[in-house]
Structures are given as structure tokens and as C-alpha cells.
Amino acid sequence: MRKPFITVIAAAVALALVLGVPVSVAQGDVRHTPGFPAISLENMLQILQSLIEGLHDSELSVDDVDKVEDVVQYLVNEGVVDQSIAEAVSGYAYSGIDVMSELEKISNAYLRRRLQSLVSTPLDKLSLDDINKLLSEARYLYSSGAISYEDYIRTLKIVRWLFNSMEQAKLQQLINSVSDPELRKYLESLIDMYRRGEITRIELVNKLLQYMNAHQLESGDYSVVNSIYEVLTRYGEYIKSIDAEWLSRVGDLLDRVAQTAYPFYRPGPVLSVAPMGEAVAQSISGAPSVSPPSIALPSPVYIGAEGLAAVLILIATAVAAILLVRVLGKRLKGAILLPRRAKLKGMPMASSETSLHRILEIYWRSVEIVERAIKVCKGGSETHREFLSRVRESLGEAAGAFGEITRVYEVYRFGGVESPELARSAEERFSYLVKVLGVG
């Protein structure tokens, strides 16, 4: 009785996939990436998220966040990605942020208070030490799981804003302290040129040196010029360091997300608006065939008769998929772990007992469970111990079990210890982990 039912469902799904996908792709201006793998929007966003979170491996700095966010902002402006998709990425651009409203959104009361006190401090009273202290605190709070990713990113945005404001104030203060009016004027013009990207840093240094050689400066002015150079080299530097390959990789990824999330999406009329900032414009304009930054207005999608047919097919696909999940249930869940299992297949089996090979499987399945349970991702360059110490606190009562699984994995994987007791211990802890975290 059940078999024909499955056959019918499978046929429906196959039909829906065969008919539905080409129809949806063929709509109007919809762009399609050839060879695009069949991967869900959720997975795609996860990839994008891990790309951004991957920066955590090497301690996420404000500059790193800026790089990601500038790229996302740029892609939005170029019409490659819809605003709503970009907003799905936690590290969304924040140029020109409303600091007070960002502050209000921070859910951790302690962090909010700390930031409020920093923001309300006059810029001339604020030191880099204060900012660094807060940054370290935020990093610690985030790595220990005390604050959410959103709170962390918001903190970084505010810190970056503070830093930029401080640098600007310092620059102005330095210029004001130059005693020679001619030099003051010259420095102001140089700074403007540097900000606009009309001169490189080397040219800036050369021009400063030439000026100093040609003019007899007061001794104090030398140190001021030096300080100005130092500030300038920090200021805005992060924007220039976006490399083309990285940009194209993220762009490609976001493009694919756009295709998956909105099959009917097409870039709307592009309205030119004021640039985000001269430095950004300059860095972007270096790329081939790129128009000046602009904001895409997504045009409303009017669904006509053709569109309606496509929607119906998509609904049929969705219904069929839901039924398929209900029928095949666990088998499909298992398939999610397929990539890591495939890697496990390549490992040599322990000679004495087949169950020993299971230790590796248990460890990697436990990692998946932990990742899903506390919404973290094990970085590729993160060791098993580093991952354990990162998730330990968030795991609560399951920490002991995951710790033991990690220990057993280490002893077996790197120590080459082949003992059935180890396998048994891992198996027991795994059952407990599944029970406590409620995902299998």
C-alpha cells in the first residue's frame, strides 16, 4: 500500500523539478548561473555566514568586518544583490550608521552601558586604549557565548565609527597645531588628495619629504607632519585593501544566493545617489567595467499568467518536497551529514575492531550536532581542542560528554590508540549528547 504512494510522490517531485525549475528560470530577465549546484537558500546563507564568521579564526578585527561589509554594500549598490538578501547577512554594511539606534538594539545590558559611556565621552578625552579595551571585552564576551553575534557585530560597527571619528578629530587637531600657515594649507590639500585617492601613500610621503627638504620648517612642525602621516596611514586604509579576487568570490556567492532566493528577481531601475565616500568610490572604480556606486531599487514584481503558472509549479514542488521529507524522514536527515561522512570513508579502518572507526564518525557527527544546537561553525583551521574550548560554556550539561568525545577522538586519531573501551566510551557519550541537545 505504501510503496505505490512513495512512487507517486517521487514521480510528482521529479515532474515538478523537471518542469518547475526551467520554467522559473526562463522568466523575463532572471539571470541564471550555469552549473549552479542544487543547494538550498538556507545552505547558501550558511556558506555566506561562515565566510564572514570564518574571519573569527584569526580574531575578527574591525577591518575584517569592514571588508566584508563594504563588499556587500557595493554589491547591493551595483544591483547584483537585493537589499533584503544582503540584510540576511549579519555583517551588513553600516556606513553612515545611526549610532544611537544601533546602541538601543544591543540586547546585552552591560555591553550597551559600556558603549554608551564611550560614545558620550568627548572625542578629545577618548583614547585608543579605551577602544581597545572595549574591543577585547566584546571579543571575550562573544567567544564565551555571553553575547550574540548580532550584538558583537553592532559593537564592532560602533567601535569602528568611534575610531574613525577619533582619527578625524586627531587629524584636525594636528593640522591646527602647525605653526606655518603655508604648510598648514599644503597639508590640508594633501590630506584631501589622499582621501580622494588621487595620490598613493608613497606619493604622499614623497610630497611631504619634498616639501620638508625645500622649506626650512620649525622643529615642531617635523613631528606634526610625522604624526599626520601616521594618522593618515591608519585612516581609511582598510577600504583600499579589498583585493579583486576576494571581491569576485563574494560577489559570485551573493549572486548565487540572489538566484536561489528570488527566482523572479531582476535588477530594477538604477538610481544614482551620492557616493558612500570618496575613498570607497576610488577603491571600487579600479575594478574593470564597474559603474559608480549606486543604489538599486527593486522593482515590484507583477505576477502575470506566466508567473502564476510558475508559482503553481513551485507550490507543487514545495508540497511534494514536504511529503517526501515526511515519508523518507530520517534517511534525508542523514544525507545532510553526507559530505563529512564521505571524508570518513577515505580513512583507514582500525585494524582490530570495526567499531573503532566509528569513533571518527561519532566525533564529526557530534560536531554537527553541537554546531546546530548552539549555532556555531567549526572553522577549517580550528583544531578539535580550540573548538571544544569555544563551545564548552555554551554547551552547559552536554559539555562533559562532548569533551570526552573530543578526548577519545584525539587519542584514537592522533595517538593511534585502538581500544574497544574508547569506542564504547564515545558511543555512550554520543547517546547522552543526542539526548541532551535533542538533535540527532
Binding site: M347, S381, T383, F414, G415, G416
Partner: protein
Amino acid sequence: MSFKLVIEKASSILIEKDLEVRLIIAALLARGHILLEGVPGIAKTTTAKTIAKLLALDFKRVQMTPDLLPMDIVGYYVYDQKTGEFRFRKGPIFTNILLVDEINRASPRTQSALLESMQERQVTVDGTTFRLEEPFVVIATQNPIEMEGVFPLPEAQLDRFLVKIESGYTSKEGLKKLIKMVDEIEEAIENIKPVMSREEVLESIRIVKEVKVDESIYDYVANIVQETRVHPAVKLGASPRAGIALIRMAKAWAYIDGRSYVIPDDVKLVAKPVLVHRIIMKPEYEIEGVTASRVVEEVLSRVPVPKP
């Protein structure tokens, strides 16, 4: 026999020197030499002396100067009037732990004589070869600030040091504790009782060689070394000797931790002291403030750890 005990004991005397002590002991177990970079007055001599005492090892110190000759370090023949023969007078190199203060102040000739002896673990004077004592470890110091009247070590010679440890000032709290308890600390150093014998140290060196290294760890190390060579900011990446050093240090690190096998964490923890001084940066990146240390950090954050 536990080196953890040695580290604990040393840490109870020396303030905020845990990592340095551990690295020095690991280098000693890996039969390597140490380049200690730091400004004067940060307890470099005291650290070396404390370790030597705890391990019941012989300790000597040489202050390098531009007029120091190789024979001042390795030794020389003197005429014995009683016997009417030439007798070899051993130089300070005949010891277990040799602290070479300000190595970059010695002339290149003396430097290379010392470094050769370090590598060969023997000295040859007038055609006679003398084996150096085991264990033998050189802790050479250099001041990163002074540039006048110094002879910087060439890259090829830097490569001969297993690790380079950057030693800094203690924290404010540490400094307060130090100036408050200086007499007690000095007394404690004087009264140190060895917690290990020389034989036990030699046995440990032998065991470290047997620490298991999984095939995937060799791959991991090779990938790290390879990655330093293709990094855009690097002019000359890590040498094959660097790869060997990384494995040796990782083995010693694992042994100190009480394990008989190496894990990726061991490699990561020793990577900076092992690799940083072997990487030559491109000048344009150096000007921009990109350091070799930053490159190693980046490499470690990029190279995937063994999987599954």
C-alpha cells in the same frame, strides 16, 4: 619524571615567564638552540640560570663584544711548563646551557664559529676534535633596539636557531611584585634544588624522539611551510629546516604536556617561535607594518587542520 613540575617550580620563582620557560625546555628536549630577543633587564640570564639549576645542568654565560675571538669561546692550547706540553683549556662552550649575551655584538667570525659548534655539537682546535657535553643548548640573546656597533645575524645563521622567543616586560602587577619581592626571589634562585637529574633529561630527550607523529600532522606541517612561501608579503618563506624544526618542537611540546603523540594544537602553539625568524618579508610590506608574526598567524588561520 615531569617537566610540568620543572615549569611550575620555575614559574613560582620567575614572574610571568611561564611560556618562555616552557619554550626553552621544549627546545632543549628537541636538541635545538634558542634566540631570545628582548631589551636588557628582563631576567633573561635569571631564566636560563633557574632552568639550569632545576635540571641539575651546568650553566655558563658569555658576554659578546666585537673584540671577542672564537678561541675565547671554544678554548685554546696553553703551554704547561711543568710537563713541557701544550694542554687544551676548554672554553665556556663546554657546558650544558650556554647563555650568549648580545650575540649580535660579536664579530661575524666569532658568530660563525659559535654557530658552527652549535650545529655540529663539537669543536675542532688545531686538528683535534672535542665533543660537546650533552645536553647542550645555547640561549643567545639580542637587543632589538640597538643598531649601532652590532653585526646582525645573517638569515642563514638565524635559521640555525630552533626557536626565537620574543621576551618582553612584565605587566604592571608583575613589576610591582618583582620590585617588592626581589630579595626573596634572589634567595629562592640561590637555594633552588634540582627536580631532575642530567641523566633524566637525557632520557627525556631520547623519549621525545619517539613521540608519535601521525601522517596527517606531517601533511599539516608541510602545508604550513608551503603556505609561508606563497604568501604575497613574503620574499623568502620557511626552509625545509623550518619544517623539521616545527615537527621537533611539536614533539617536545606534546611530551611536556604528557602525551606520546602530536596533535595539531602542538604545531600551532610552537609555529610562531619556530617560523617567524626564518621568514623574510618583502620590504614594501614591511614598510606597511606587516610583520612575519602576522604572516604566520594568517597562515595558521588559513591552513586546514587534519580531517577527519
